[in-house]
Every structure is written in C-alpha cells, then in structure tokens.
C-alpha cells in the first residue's frame, strides 16, 4: 500500500517524465542524433565544444565525462535512440530509482525500522529543494540521490573501520559520486566528518590507546578511501595538477569572490530550516518568493524527534538522532550563505576553507537539511505513532480507523500540501513538455551538410536547441567578447573592426537565436521581443554580413572570406588537414619553405606542438590569440599537431583503470574468503 502510494505520487509529480515529449529545462541540454558522434568515453585534455571560447584545456572538468557520455554512448550511439528516450533512461529514471532506494536504505539500516522507511524516501524525493534542482540540473540531482548511500557507507566504515571490504566499497562509492558532482561529495564528506567527530567525542578516553586508535581510524576512514578515489580519478587529476590549473580560476571572478557569494545568497535562515527553496515554485533565477509559513511545521516535526532521545535505550540510536539533528541545523546555517545570522562565517569560510570556493551558490548545503529531515521526520512520526497506539485515551480497536493512522494520514496530507504546485503540474523546467522548433531542425540539417570547418557565433548566446559539433563549434558572443549587456554586445559585433577578428577566428556564421523558451532576451527577468528585434535588425544593417533566409525566426548571417581551421599567409604554401581527435590533427603541407608559419585557429596554448620525424615546433602566439607553428624544413610533408598534455591523461587513465581492476579484484577476493 505504502509503495503503491509512493508510486502514484511519483507519477503525479513527474508525469512529464513518463511521456515521450521533449524535456529541456534550465541547465539540461538537448542533443540531436547527429550530435551523438561528438561524444566518446575516452577523456581528452582539450575541447573546442565544451568551451566558451576557441577551445580550452578541459581536464579540470573531465570528471563529468563518464556520467554524461555513457548513456549517450550506450543508448544513443549503439541503440540509436532519440534524445527524448536517452535522457529518460540514462538520467531521469536513474535519479528516481536511486533517490527512493538510497534514503530508504539509510533509514532502514540506521534505525532498523522498515515501517516508516518509505516516508524517508518520500521526504527525500518530494521536497522543494530537489524539485527545483531536477528542473534542469541532472548532475546535481543524481549526485544528491547517491548522497545517503555514500553517507551510509562512511557511517558503516566509521563503526567498523578495520573492515577492508567496507574500506574498498566506500572508496568506490565515493569515487562514483565524484564522477557525477564533486561539490556534493564535499558536503557529504563534511557530514561524515561531523559523525566521526561526534563518535570520537562520545567514546573519548584520555589514554594512549584511544589516541592511537583515533589515528588509525582517521587513516582508514578518510586517508585510504581518499587516496583510492584520487587514483581512480587520476585521468583528470594528473593533467590538472601537472599543468597547475585551478579549475575555478578558469571560471573567473564571478565564481570566486565574496561579492558573488553575497549575490547568490538568496535563501534566508527561515527558508533553509523549513526546507523551503527560495525560488519555490516559479524557479526563476534570483526571484525570491515570500516565506511560506506552513513550511515551519517541517522543522517542528523533525526536531520533535529529540524528545524521544531519553526514551531510547540504544546509545547508538541516540547518537544518530543527535547527529542528524545537528546535521540539519548546520545544513540550514550554511545553506543561507552570507545572510544573517552570522553570515560573515560563511564568507570567511569561502575565503579561507579549502574547497569552500565551490559553494558560491550556498543552496547546495540544503542537501544536509534534506538528509537530516528524511531521517528525523519518519523517526519522530514512528515514535508519535507508537505513543498514540499505546496511550489508553486513544485506544481504538479498529485496525484501520484509529487515531495513530489518522495522525499518519494527516502528516502525509500535510507533506503533499507543501508540494501542491508539483502535484498540480505548475512546475517548469523538466516538468513541462516542450518541443524543438522546426527552424532549429532546419538549421541543424544545414550545418551538418557543411563539411568544412567553421565556427558559429551566437548573439548574445546559444539556445538550448542550437546545434554544435567539433566541426562547427558554437561560441556565445557574450563570452567571446566578454560583454554581457545585449545592446553593447550587438554594437561590438556590428562594428567594422570585428569583421577581421571573426574572419581570422574561422567564424562563418553569426546567428541570432529564436528564443522559443523565453530565456535569452530578457528585461527584468521577462522575455523582451523588442530586444530580439533590435539585435536582428542591427545585424541586418551590417554591410559585411549577408543574411541567409529559410530559418524562420533564427537570424543566420554569413561572413565572407573567413579563414580555415589551419591557414598560412606564406606565399606558395598550401595546406590540407584531417581531424583525428580533439587533441590531434594531421596536416599535409605542400611547397613549404623553412621559416613559413602555419596558424592553427584555436585558443593559444603553449602545449600544442607540431611534430614529424624531422622537427618539433612548439606553438607560438599569433595575433595574441591563436596558435602558430614555424616550419623548419622545405618541401612537401606531413606534420602532426598534438596537444601534449594528453600524454598525462593517458598515464592517468592507466592509473585509474589499474586502481579500479585491483579494487574490484580485492573486494571479490575478500567476499569469497568471508564465505
């Protein structure tokens, strides 16, 4: 009955996920079948499509590759399924299954209570925080879903830290979650650290043996799983460390300053402690809703579990209750970011605590509140249920119609009342069906038919249905020119000296998107058609642009005389080239002279080299922007253009694979020995 009820609520809330309509909301991408071939499971150190500019070193972000590309590879490339199906099988349904299972499992194992474990799943899956996140951020959502499982593995390990099998299993689960979203792993590890500290405090004895055991347990719980996880992630960590790249530096000051934290601190303490997302239910970035006071019953329900602590005989359970209550309070305090009370603490931690810079958006800390409440509320409900059941005043012999069942029904109805916009289909993002405009399908076919390399410049930025490939990278104009005011940007694009820059950067088309979702041309957070018309009309007046018709509301403008991916200004030389991979090109030069330069139109990076059996030339800067190579011999020959950081990716990949194989082998061996 309980399971059926949960299933019905899932169907009601996530109705759109069980249809075959296109789903695309917020950060969730859309892929045409022709885009599947862009992806491979093999990690590369360079990309010109996962970059906001003319290509960049992407190893610091390569952890996401397996999670993102495995479903595309299996269901898209092998089974040729459309994105509508790939997205559901690969991302949406796994989120539902893992969410329900992991919170249910954590509650069941921690409190040895099967009756109310399903309520734990309900709270973990149907709270305003995660319902806002699944509106479009699937990486965060699946990492969120895994978090109770990772936490359980660590709690088990802390309680039994000499168990080698648990050490290895925990390491693998930790590494798996890092693959999806390392930020939530950091939060889970903070929760693990809190449990570790509490346990040591409770068991504290002032003798040498205690301190020795404390040291050993710290090594086995944190250091060993940490090292194994690092080795499993060597394929992106090794090149990142060797190349001395801090991924956050690449993102710029908008991600790393305390001003950004203050700007992004949307939730207040009354929101976070009530497990109420500040954007609920509209999910419009920056639009903070008024406090909904009915949510304050949630912390009352959760923290009322503390009344039962003194009645529990098992010390372990007592610690769990206190631990989850503390976790909820800490989570609520951190999720409010720089807001009062004591907002300065968050800002100080952001500046000084290693890893905290990942939390410009403090709402990620809601995770701790959801885990806490999904444990505490079912626990409190189960004890109140028993209290009513055993109390003489409320004693009714009817098995169904009795006070304890009425109480549980009222709680469930209250929880459903809180998420009524979800039940009534009022949520946006992935909850609403959308369709791909015909104009975008025409544009995709048009670009696929263009066999030669060229870039597309999207003014002001790309649309969720825009097409891109390594052969036709999509570059947002606002990032290319570092200008985020639409009017200023259009003026810049239309200016006379931009023509040469765009030609040299291998741009063939400037595209003004049709904003079918109303999320690009915005004034005061609302779609502004005038802004769209102003952009397109301005580009129509530019003499060096020729408009190509046939794409409806999408404005496509062609730039004449654009450069190829490889070109040379030297006299007499001719070039042909072949794309091998994002980090390798094969170039044939004809009639070259010693000292001739060839230009490679990707962002300058000194790790690009041109090599053949006779010479190796390192990249030098051309026009302060691109790579160029000086040829050191005459005649006709082939050269390999190669991004040398890839060597470390390969070494890292070997380390990762070996660690995985050895870990799995040892786990199986230990399991067999146990039998």
């Amino acid at each position: 009955m309980k399971k059926i009820l949960l299933f019905i609520i899932i169907l009601l809330v996530f109705l759109n996920w069980f249809t075959l309509f296109t789903i695309s909301g917020n950060d969730s991408p859309f892929f045409y079948n022709s885009m599947y071939s862009n992806y491979s499971l093999f990690p590369y150190a360079w990309s010109n499509i996962f970059s906001f500019n003319l290509g960049s070193f992407i190893s610091p972000f390569s952890w996401i590759i397996i999670f993102n590309q495995l479903p595309i590879l299996i269901f898209g490339q092998i089974f040729h399924l459309s994105w509508n199906i790939v997205e559901r099988i690969g991302f949406l349904y796994p989120f539902l299954v893992i969410s329900v299972f992991s919170s249910w499992y954590l509650f069941k194992k921690i409190f040895q209570n099967n009756n109310f474990a399903i309520l734990s799943s309900g709270i973990f899956l149907f709270n305003t925080y995660i319902l806002m996140v699944v509106g479009g951020q699937m990486e965060v959502a699946i990492s969120y879903a895994l978090s109770p499982l990772t936490l359980y593995c660590f709690i088990k390990l802390i309680n039994d830290y000499k168990n080698k099998r648990i050490i290895l299993l925990t390491s693998l689960v930790l590494a798996l979650q890092v693959l999806i979203d390392p930020r939530l792993v950091f939060i889970v590890l903070a929760a693990v650290g809190l449990y570790f500290v509490l346990k040591q405090l409770i068991e504290f004895k002032n003798n040498k043996k205690f301190y020795f055991e404390l040291f050993i347990s710290f090594v086995l719980v944190f250091v060993i799983p940490g090292i194994i996880s690092l080795l499993l992630h060597a394929f992106w960590l090794l090149p990142t460390v060797i190349y001395h790249q801090n991924p956050l530096n690449q993102l710029g000051s908008a991600f790393t300053t305390t001003n950004a934290v203050q700007y992004f601190s949307f939730a207040k303490f009354e929101n976070t402690i009530s497990l109420l997302h500040s954007n609920w239910p509209e999910n419009i970035f920056g639009k903070v809703s008024f406090m909904k006071p009915e949510f304050l019953l949630l912390p009352i329900l959760a923290f009322s579990s503390l009344f039962f602590v003194s009645k529990i005989k098992d010390n372990k359970k007592k610690i769990y209750i206190l631990y989850f209550a503390l976790l909820g309070l800490i989570g609520a305090f951190l999720a409010k970011g720089a807001n009062d009370p004591f907002g300065g603490i968050y800002l100080w931690m952001f500046d000084h605590f290693p890893g905290f810079q990942m939390f410009r958006d403090s709402t990620k800390w809601y995770l701790l509140v959801t885990i806490s409440y999904s444990m505490l509320i079912p626990f409190a409900i189960s004890h109140i249920y028993e209290l009513i059941k055993t109390h003489k005043k409320f004693s009714i012999k009817n098995k169904i119609l009795n006070f304890q069942n009425i109480f549980v029904t009222l709680v469930v109805l209250y929880l459903l009342f809180l998420i009524r916009p979800a039940m009534l289909g009022q949520l946006t993002g992935t909850f609403k069906p959308s369709s791909v405009p015909e104009d975008y399908i025409k544009l995709e076919r048009f670009l696929v038919s263009q066999k030669d390399f060229s870039r597309t410049l999207w003014v002001p930025t790309g649309q969720r249905f825009s097409f891109y490939s390594p052969n036709h990278p999509e570059i947002p104009a606002q990032d290319f020119f570092n200008l985020y005011n639409c009017s200023q940007l259009v003026e810049k694009v239309a200016s006379q000296n931009t023509e040469r820059l765009l030609q040299q950067s291998a741009f063939k088309y400037i595209i003004v998107p049709y904003d079918s979702q109303g999320e690009i041309f915005l004034t005061e957070r609302k779609y502004d058609n005038k802004l769209y018309l102003k952009t397109i009309n301005k580009l129509k007046t530019v003499k060096w642009l020729k408009q190509i018709n046939g794409f409806g509301k999408i404005g496509v403008f062609e730039i004449a005389d654009f450069k190829d991916h490889f070109w040379s200004s030297a006299k007499g030389i001719s070039l042909t080239y072949k794309y091998v991979s994002p980090v390798e090109y094969s170039v044939k030069v004809h009639d070259a002279k010693k000292g001739d330069a060839i230009v490679f139109v990707e962002s300058y990076d000194s790790k690009w080299v041109a090599e053949n059996s006779k010479f190796t030339a390192q990249s030098t800067k051309f026009d302060n922007k691109f790579n160029s190579f000086i040829l050191s011999s005459n005649g006709n020959y082939s050269i390999k253009i190669y991004y040398t950081v890839q060597d470390y990716v390969i070494i890292g990949l070997i380390i990762s694979m070996l660690t995985l194989v050895v870990s799995l082998y040892v786990i199986i061996l230990l399991k067999l020995n146990k039998k």
């Binding site: 304050l296 009352i300 503390l306 010390n315 007592k318 609520a332 009370p341």
Partner: protein
C-alpha cells in the same frame, strides 16, 4: 540590539540557570510555531528573529544531550 533580543537573552539565561531536560527544545519548537502566524501576517522582523532563536535553542539542547551521553558513559 532590539527589544526581542533582550527578551530572548533574559529567557535564555533563565533556562540556563534552571536547566531542565527538553526545556530548550520545547521553547525552540514553540518559537517556530509562534513564527508561523507572524509570517502569515507579514510581521517579518519578529518572525525571523523567532526562527533564529528557535535554531539556537535547539542547538543548545543537542549539546546538552550530547554532554549527557558522554557523561553517562563514565
């Protein structure tokens, strides 16, 4: 410091002196409960403060309970 804060500090000190089990917790939960109508009627300042006080009172109760468990062990 507002009148609400002064009142809270007086009550908090009184509770610390009396120090009875679950009093901090009960008052903390009552703070949340009283904040509900205040938020409903848009009396935001006091409602916000009540939620802060509630959080602090519950934190103190947790610390006391932890201390008690540590003490019981001895």
């Amino acid at each position: 410091m507002k009148i609400q804060d002064i009142l809270f500090i007086i009550i908090f000190l009184g509770l610390l002196i009396k120090h009875k089990e679950n009093w901090f917790l009960s008052l903390g939960l009552l703070c949340f409960l009283f904040a509900i109508p205040l938020f409903y009627f848009w009396i935001f300042f006091t409602a916000e403060r009540l939620v802060w006080y509630g959080g602090l009172l519950i934190l103190v109760e947790i610390i006391f309970k932890l201390y008690k468990i540590m003490h019981e062990k001895d």
